[in-house]
Symmetry: C2
Subunit: 217 residues, 2 copies
DNA sequence: ACTTATTTTTAGTCTTGTCTAAAAAAATAT
DNA sequence: ATATTTTTTTAGACAAGACTAAAAATAAGT
């Protein structure tokens, strides 16, 4: 049986593996977990002994197949609960994260599979992130970041990279939501800011914003 | 903020206060919590310092008003989740307890109030136990145990005292469910076993069974 | 009342997960 | 190549919550 802390470490390492290739550094984990490197070293030893990750002193860590499966399962739970909160309990997409962070640790196979069915086997969470299946497989974010589009390109908004409450609230205010059609009216080469059109309305967004929105072309 | 362990102690003491009047003994708590008396002493001190219960060495413990409120809130969450599991996720009434035991510790005011609304503000959980409102008030079990009925008495099954999986499965097998009309055909004075009728069907039940079923006359 | 039994508390230890401070290994710079 | 900086690990300590063993307070028995 997995402790709460172990689960959180696995999840963090899984997410870090997405961006960085190769072994994950102890410091990177410490930063993500808001803890100290020495604490990470201890936990890494423990997870390593359990066969959930591979690690040699002073080299980075990498999840084993089993470790990945456990992590994907936690993420599956997190994202299914997020769908539940938004679709059934009227939460907004910027409110769900903290609660899902708790719910993801509830242990019951039946619970999560029934929840999946109850929600109609959703493929994405409210932020557009893919929901892994029972075996940890999920449709990749093959989609592209808005910032990579050029003048006159069109697409559909399918996800966000940053799920912070403040970012999501900004999007709500601008009328930027998943599923909306978007067209790049103009792009400023100097700072990569762009003028976009959503539903007849045109406005400017900075590169920082465009860098956190996924588009399906 | 309340730890998981503190919450479980409060809940246990709250439940014990239902049956026993007066201060709850350290040993009684230890037994209910499956732990040792010495551990209970430590926790009692902690809860006492937090103003959640009153205690003097070698005397029993009793929850303060605030302690009761906290406990009732945990029970509220537990029972609402049980309703959710049975009504929405197709759990049977003997499967819900362990999962609800985990879910009851999720911290989010909004979550529980939205869940309450989503379920249609239920008044009872799947075992017939009353669900406290936000202020900790709940309709009492003014109902009577089946064992107290006499020959030819009639009533409606409204709850169970024992919620163990084995007991609930036995009831399912016998066709004994909440809401069913019941009539006492005969009662054996020697061992208090009774012959009862539910839906034209008559059968015998022992005192032990009759002692764990609540009836509304 | 005084001895015996029970209950409760204290004292000290253990585990998990954290921390700080210092040592060791690896990476970088000159 | 050697000195310096950065990263990682070790060593030792601490808090929460549990345990065991023993002491202290209360209750019961005769």
């Amino acid at each position: 049986m997995m402790t709460l802390s172990e689960e959180n470490y696995l999840k963090a390492i899984y997410h870090l593996s997405d961006t960085c290739e190769g072994g994950i550094s102890t410091n990177a984990i410490a930063e993500k977990m808001n803890t100290k490197a020495s604490s990470v070293t201890d936990m890494i030893k423990k997870l390593s002994e359990k066969g959930l990750l591979n690690y040699k002193r002073y080299k980075g860590s990498a999840l084993t197949a089993e470790g990945k499966l456990v992590a994907a399962n936690i993420i599956r739970k997190h994202r299914l609960w997020e769908v539940f909160l938004v679709e059934k309990l009227n939460f907004t997409w910027d409110e769900v994260h903290d609660v899902a962070e708790q719910l993801e640790h509830i242990k019951s196979e039946k619970l999560i599979n029934q929840l999946d069915e109850f929600l109609g086997f959703p493929k994405r969470d409210p932020h557009g992130d893919p929901i892994p299946d029972k075996d940890g497989n999920m449709s990749d974010h093959a989609d592209v970041l808005l910032v990579t589009l050029n003048k006159n390109d069109k697409g559909i908004i399918v996800g966000v990279k940053d799920s912070s409450s403040s970012f999501l609230k900004y999007l709500d205010k601008q009328g930027i939501a998943l599923g909306k059609k978007i067209k790049v009216i103009d792009k400023e080469p100097f700072d990569n800011s762009m003028k976009i059109r959503i539903k007849k309305e045109e406005f400017m967004i900075s590169q920082q914003i465009a860098n956190n929105i996924y588009i399906k072309k």
